[in-house]
């Protein structure tokens, strides 16, 4: 029984002559508690898959099931209780004039929680920020702290699946290590399922147990992390990607 399953997913933008196929015939399964990576170059469609799953792109066909339930074109409120997303740029994904308290409070309110005050405190503790950050604004936070707030916001709904779109690529390596450790801890504590997009094979290798390599809108290969570490790729493109990754 898979937590998230994507079958023959196609995503396109534009119509007629201007139609661009961003994702072509992508299929993969993610088991509960597993973390799955999507790697590839920019424009290969890896982020688009995440956006299609969350409903940020209306033009898709195929089948997406979350916890056995078919996902309809119009997402039900309960969908967002199960699936949440963390974006790449923590500078762009927080409202500049909302305090951390307002960001988390509003999210909790929208998800229908009552004990908002206690939950804000718990969320901040969960992501290692603590109380003193509660009434700060985004410009008073560092990049790593902002990404922690973005993760706290995603956790507010108590989701079971987190979609992570390059969660550390805008951060310094030392901060990246902190965020990756946080993600590891949160997955263990809350039994979360991750789908992570990254261009950094070492990051995906650290977080994920299996990964799909994408090229020109298609998934060319799905491999496990042991093959990645041993550099055993079957498709010529994945072999090239492995060779090109410095220090990997």
């Amino acid at each position: 029984m898979s937590m998230l399953s994507v079958e023959h997913l196609n995503v396109w933008f534009g119509k007629g002559h201007n139609r661009v196929d961003a994702v072509t015939d992508a299929s993969f399964d993610v088991a509960p508690g597993e973390s799955f990576g999507l790697v590839g170059e920019s424009g290969s469609g890896k982020s688009t898959i995440l956006r299609a799953i969350t409903g940020l792109v209306p033009t898709w066909s195929g089948r997406i099931t979350v916890d056995g339930q078919d996902v309809a074109k119009k997402r039900h409120r309960s969908f967002y209780k199960t699936v949440q997303m963390v974006f790449q740029d923590p500078y762009a994904s927080l409202h500049p004039r909302h305090s951390v308290d307002a960001v988390l409070g509003e999210t909790l309110h929208l998800h229908g929680f009552r004990d908002i005050d206690a939950r804000v405190v718990r969320l901040l503790d969960d992501v290692g920020l603590g109380q003193k950050f509660r009434f700060r604004f985004p410009h008073q936070l560092s990049g790593g702290q902002r990404q922690r707030v973005a993760i706290a916001r995603a956790l507010a709904a108590e989701p079971r699946i987190l979609l992570l779109d390059e969660p550390t690529s805008a951060l310094d390596v030392s901060v990246q290590a902190e965020i990756l450790n946080l993600l590891t801890d949160l997955r263990a504590e809350h039994g979360l399922t991750y789908v992570m997009v990254s261009h950094d094979l070492a990051v995906v290798g650290h977080v994920c147990a299996r990964l799909a390599v994408m090229k020109d809108s298609r998934i060319v290969e799905i491999m496990d992390v042991d093959s990645l570490r041993a550099k055993r790729a079957n498709h010529p493109y994945s072999q090239e990607l492995l060779r090109n990754s410095v220090g990997a």
Binding site: V173, H206, N244, V246
Partner: protein, 284 residues
């Protein structure tokens, strides 16, 4: 042979809370080599590159005992003399080609303009030179690229065009500030190979500013590691992985590695003593 000699460089910004020191007493020399400057955001690495070209705008202050280009002090030059240095003798490639190219001029016009500023030449000669410059960065269909606008180019193409444009006047020094950070890994390799080839064949000095330790270890000859505005360690690039300073070690250890899987990554513990300790000189 020393191309550039920087001694005790300071960059300061007056703020309401007092003077902020972005660069604090950096010293290094650059010969015909590839010198890497690595550090995290805010370590002062980009400010160092900009200060050499005197590109820090007021109220920012640049002070140094010496910034000498082949024995001539840059700090004593007038703004007019400085303009003859910028681009002509020291060139700079920035991170993102989208912001460095003029969006409303064709690439051909921009290359021709760059060439004609440096050389007395008619348009026809300049056009040929521009085509040659594009060929030198492995752009084969130069004619088509010349007619295109920057938004029609991919990131890798844009960065190659930038490198071509910067190399047209034949500078002695190229300062590359995160030239490949916005590019995909495969394109990154190509751009680096092209840059490496041009720099070595022309006997130029290269200052390569990057946050990527592995890239610098692979690509440069010598590395300065910067922390809080100071150079904390200088080492040979191929020995970067044997670096001894706790900050450098911390950075190296915080990287996830495919060959050494770990449950948790080690987190850098910052020691206030690092920023207090006197800087290391990168002069030879």
């Amino acid at each position: 042979m020393t191309l550039l000699d920087v001694e005790n460089l300071w960059v300061q910004f007056p703020t309401r809370q007092g003077v902020f020191d972005a660069v604090r007493g950096v010293s290094f020399t650059l010969g015909k080599e590839r010198l890497g400057i690595v550090g995290e955001s805010g370590s002062g690495k980009s400010m160092t590159g900009r200060a050499i070209l005197r590109l820090i705008r007021p109220p920012g202050i640049v002070r140094a005992d010496r910034i000498a280009l082949e024995g001539v002090d840059l700090l004593g030059m007038t703004e007019k003399e400085m303009r003859a240095v910028r681009g002509q003798r020291i060139s700079m490639v920035m991170q993102d080609p989208k912001f460095s190219l003029n969006p409303v001029m064709t690439i051909g016009d921009q290359l021709i303009e760059a060439y004609r500023l440096a050389n007395k030449s008619d348009r026809k000669g300049a056009k040929q030179a521009a085509l040659d410059a594009l060929a030198s960065v492995s752009i084969r269909d130069g004619e088509r690229v010349m007619r295109a606008y920057p938004h029609e180019m991919s990131g890798g193409m844009g960065q190659r065009i930038m490198i071509a444009m910067m190399l047209i006047p034949g500078p002695q020094i190229l300062i590359a500030d995160e030239p490949t950070s916005a590019l995909d890994v495969s394109v990154q390799r190509q751009v680096l190979a092209i840059m490496d080839d041009l720099v070595t064949s022309r006997g130029m000095g290269l200052i390569f500013i990057s946050h990527d330790l592995n890239l610098v270890a692979d690509f440069c000859d010598r590395v300065l590691i910067m922390y809080a505005g100071r150079v904390v360690e200088v080492c040979r690039a191929d020995r970067l992985h044997e670096a001894t300073h706790p900050y450098t070690r911390g950075l190296l250890n915080s990287l996830p590695r495919l060959d050494e899987p770990r449950e948790r990554l080690s987190v850098l513990k910052r020691d206030p003593a690092w920023s207090e300790a006197p800087g290391v000189s990168g002069r030879i």
